[in-house]
Symmetry: C2
Amino acid sequence: MYEVEIKVPADLERVRNRLDELGATSTDAVVQADTYYDAPHRSFPETDEALRIRSERPERGDEVTRLTYKGPLVDDESKTREEIETAVGDGETVDAILTKLGFDAAATVRKDRERFAFEGYTITLDSVDGVGEYVEVETEVEDESGLESAREGAYEVLERIGLEPSDQLRTSYLGLLLESRSDD
Amino acid sequence: MYEVEIKVPADLERVRNRLDELGATSTDAVVQADTYYDAPHRSFPETDEALRIRSERPERGDEVTRLTYKGPLVDDESKTREEIETAVGDGETVDAILTKLGFDAAATVRKDRERFAFEGYTITLDSVDGVGEYVEVETEVEDESGLESAREGAYEVLERIGLEPSDQLRTSYLGLLLESRSDD
């Protein structure tokens, strides 16, 4: 399974109106708080790994918290990473355990996230605290041969919602948050 | 809160019969599998810490898995440790995350555990794979002044169920398992 994901800065109010005109389906809206940890025995930026606690609060229903390990890129082409994730009972307790083990919270990325379904793509509208507003267009394809046409389809979707594929950003929200802090 | 806990080797069948005669209340029975981890950046035996995944299967109902950090003894007198624990969705996934982070499973202690309530004490009958049969008598007291009489009460309970307080063992099941292996 390969994932195509394109992220661009956007004015979410305009994108929301455009999605409404196009008849895209609103699927869900959540508030996510992602805390990323530094390891005591390795430099995750150097090893290209990440350890994250994500708390997700849906519009309706209970908050869900997950612990996630992300491994380095498996290969450059597909941008595929190993991702290991499990639900945990309580984020603060997992944070306390990680802290006792010598892992330090590096930063927390908070965002309001709305998802829409449109012509086989997931369109995600993210309002990221201290970072800005972004839209992600993504889809999955079975094998590598489908990547190119999926990417072109994503560009087309971006254009139809009034966004510019060439504005594409490859930096993670964590990276953008840390950059904005170092600018201060 | 202080905990008094006394553990002695025992013939569980005899203890079970004796508890029945005394009218002790059977509270629950579970199967526990505790996996303990070594850290990549510290020696837990030296720092007197522990990191554990416990999967507990009750007689009825679903298996529950918890991640637990145990800190070093707060002081020698009370045998009190900091313990931080949270439920996790899936033990195998947490094991995979810990392994990726460089924590290695050191050993797994499996036991059948039956609990009884008797005169303010919890009596636990443990049949530990590869280690043997043990009984633990424990209770909690509000403050240090109550420790001595709680300990004497625990000795009395042990004698009433046909066990010898002087057989008391201070080694953990993990320690006993690792000792039995080094004897091989």
